[in-house]
Symmetry: C3
Subunit: 136 residues, 3 copies
């Protein structure tokens, strides 16, 4: 069994923080300690962990990815979103996080983000929380 | 304990879908729900999840990686495969997937791929399927 | 519960192998077979698996990342480490490894590395070892 969280993007490319949504699921599952696995079932958006404080960090990540994988380019894939597919493989579709003391373990400046590369759309992220054996 | 699947590449660089191989292992292990962890024990090939429908997506991913990390370049590593090592760290050596209802959970357009960056070779991918606690 | 390993970097950018540190923890936890999850709680360093034999591979990875994400550039983030944030999302903050026969499962040439992108600093890496169900 896993949870599904829905994330609505409002632009073609943007990073949307989902840390609080994950924290809610940890509380709902009443998991004190374990792992949290994320999987993104889309081929044009990805998951990353990075700074959630200064929004310019998100801007730079998206700007530099767009610099090297531009929206318009002589790609073989002609649906207009080849850049989004490439970025998805560069950033990655899954992520492993830690749970301790009933909360998500993140560094001071860290947040968990959906990276939308071909929005605006409603996206799903799959979340599975695996309790430590001592937590059962 | 883990499974080993062998994948033969026929070109220097190509993406080879392995989703069906993983589905077979889930059936073999009789796992209904859980996680599937993949690890690639090589330093010049990687694992990714992306579109398995239009083959031009694979082409664009490989073309753009080769554009920025060309085969021939004044690399410090002189074995002729420095590009393959760099691409491996950009794409990644491990992946987490979900298992539900006895099957791999993938989005409509998703496939799991070995990214060969220094073939042709016979490669191994390690696969471990971890059942949910309720599945034991 | 998880382990924390501390890693001291001595340059702004470098790759530091941590495979032996992980092996020690596997022995300490007396785990024979299972998964080892790594999470990096920082936003300017990452974790990767690549060649641990010829040091020029590490050099090429860092050189090519710096070529595309230079230290000095007209980034929106003005703290002087935007490059480090971008590289962190490209390489990734988590990693899944396999444990078998009481040891880390790595290919012949593989090592596990902290990628320091904004050092020198003392970094932490979180390590959780999950035994197989048959190992309890």
């Amino acid at each position: 069994m896993y949870h599904i969280i829905e994330v609505k993007s409002s632009k073609r490319t943007e990073m949307i923080e989902i840390s609080d949504r994950l924290s809610e699921l940890i509380k709902k599952d009443k998991i004190k300690s374990g792992l949290l696995a994320l999987f993104c079932p889309h081929t044009t958006c990805a998951i990353t962990v990075n700074e959630n404080y200064d929004p310019t960090v998100k801007e730079d990540i998206m700007t530099m990815l767009a610099k090297y994988f531009p929206h318009s380019y002589h790609y073989a894939h002609t649906e207009g979103n080849a850049d989004a597919h490439i970025k998805t493989s560069v950033i990655g579709s899954s992520q492993i996080l830690f749970v301790e003391n009933g909360a998500l373990v993140l560094g001071t400046w860290q947040g968990v983000f959906l990276c939308e590369f071909d929005g605006p759309r409603t996206r799903k992220i799959l979340v599975k929380i695996i309790p430590d054996k001592t937590d059962i």
